[in-house]
């Protein structure tokens, strides 16, 4: 039983650390704000969650377990919200995402349409 717990918690911790590191590499390597934020926002939630689950398997004390569960819930709630708010603030302040030519055409078309409908009334 002990070895099962050890191995599974080790796996969880490893996956979590790997995800966090890949998020860190993403924030350095990706081209613009939105992709960077995407890299961190996605990997951070899962990575931190995995690490917390790995720690939970090791905890013998009920109180510690309960605290870890609370931290996990908090992370699951807050981390995506923060990414959402960041992206929204950036878009609101006029930061344009870097896009490939195809996508750029599409978005500019969309924006034009939007501009027309909103300026008419």
């Amino acid at each position: 039983m002990d070895i099962v717990i050890n191995i599974s918690s080790g796996l969880c911790l490893f996956t979590g650390s790997f995800l966090c590191i890949s998020g860190g590499i993403g924030i350095l390597r990706f081209p613009d704000f939105y992709t960077r934020m995407h890299a961190v926002g996605v990997t951070d939630t899962l990575g931190a969650g995995m690490i917390l689950i790995g720690l939970m398997m090791h905890s013998t004390d009920f109180l510690v377990l309960a605290k870890l569960v609370m931290i996990l819930l908090l992370t699951l709630l807050i981390s995506p919200t923060t990414s959402h708010v960041l992206a929204k603030a950036a878009l609101h302040n006029g930061l344009v995402p870097e896009l490939t030519p195809d996508a750029l055409d599409q978005t500019s078309l969309d924006l034009k349409k939007k501009g027309k409908t909103s300026s008419n009334p």
């Binding site: 709630l77 807050i78 919200t81 959402h84 708010v85």
Partner: protein, 339 residues
């Protein structure tokens, strides 16, 4: 190793704060600085200090800075003159300070004066004398209750000062005008609003936990007050000042700020009247230990009340100022259009 990394990061952040011209980034960096110093304190096993630093330095002071920036604008004014004299003075002072540290005992030295003076007494006797597991709380709230009283009075004075300088007389007809601005501003933040609504009760609960668990673990009135206030500030930021004013009565907060200080002082007076020294809790109950428990509970409650309400007073005064500013700008725009 981890000390070196943290200290290096602190220095990097400090230099970045000086070099940056964008005040928003500076506010954020000062928050990061607070968090880094908090983790540094954790490494040194000073959990209570770390908690305070995380709550105050990284949390609420950043928030207040951001509110101020929303009034003053984002970029720093460029200085014309070269502040050579100031640089010289700072360099000399810094050099003297570093020279002074040469005389200090080495980091972690066992024969340092701090370890041979009163600290052994606190560590050895506080369990018998005060009877609570967290020594920091027993030092703060019982051995050094007078100092803590001074701190609370300082915070209260700061609140009064902000009120005296910034309080705005509001007329009721302003409310509708401002409400419309707020509604248009806040309608779009749906996701954040819902998540916040889910979280606020838990933040308040956590603040109460920190308040009443301060005897047994890191925590206490200061941290709890700040956390409590930040939950309410979060509410104000997302639901608008007007809604918040309906929930939280301004006069009531001011009353609570005063009541906290009064409660703290009254505990001292009560111990005087019962025949002990000022803030000698032993005489508050029949049993000295029970008296200490009661005294610490009461003064921590006083501290929590004062800190929370003063933070709210400061935030509300700043925000009200901004509101007036916004309204004046709107008026100005309208006048321009008419012309």
């Amino acid at each position: 190793m981890i000390n070196i990394v943290l200290l290096t990061l602190l220095v990097v952040v400090a230099i970045a704060i000086i070099r940056m011209k964008d005040l928003f980034a500076v506010a954020m960096l000062s928050g990061i600085y607070g968090l880094l110093s908090a983790s540094f304190f954790v490494v040194m096993d000073a959990v209570d200090v770390a908690f305070t630093e995380a709550a105050v330095g990284a949390g609420i002071s950043t928030l207040l800075l951001l509110v101020v920036i929303s009034m003053t604008g984002r970029s720093e004014n460029s200085t014309r003159h070269k502040p050579l004299l100031a640089l010289l003075i700072v360099a000399i002072t810094g050099g003297l300070l570093i020279y002074g540290t040469l005389d200090m005992p080495y980091f972690g030295a066992a024969d340092a004066p701090i370890h041979s003076h009163v600290a052994p007494r606190y560590i050895n006797d506080s369990m018998q004398e005060i009877g609570i597991p967290n020594i920091v709380t027993s030092v703060l709230a019982s051995y050094r209750a007078f100092d803590t009283f001074g701190e609370v009075v300082v915070i209260f004075t700061a609140g009064i000062g902000v009120l005296a300088l910034l309080s705005v007389v509001r007329r009721p007809e302003d409310s509708d005008n401002i409400a419309s601005i707020n509604d248009s501003m806040h309608e779009q933040h749906l996701v954040v609003r819902i998540v916040t609504k889910m979280l606020i009760p838990f933040i308040l609960l956590f603040a109460l936990y920190v308040q009443f668990h301060g005897d047994y673990g890191p925590g206490g009135g200061f941290q709890a007050g700040v956390i409590f206030a930040s939950a309410i500030i979060l509410y104000v930021m997302l639901f608008g000042l007007n809604t918040a004013r309906k929930v939280i009565n301004q006069t009531f907060i001011q009353l609570i700020a005063a009541t906290g200080v009064l409660l703290y002082g009254c505990v001292g007076i009560a111990s005087l009247l019962n025949g002990g020294n000022f803030f000698d809790y032993n005489v508050l109950a029949n049993d000295p230990i029970a008296g200490q428990h009661l005294g610490i509970l009461l003064i921590e409650w006083g501290v929590g009340c004062t800190v929370a309400s003063v933070m709210l007073i400061i935030f509300f005064s700043f925000a009200a100022r901004r509101e007036v500013q916004q309204k004046n700008e709107n008026q100005h725009d309208k006048n321009q259009e008419l012309l």
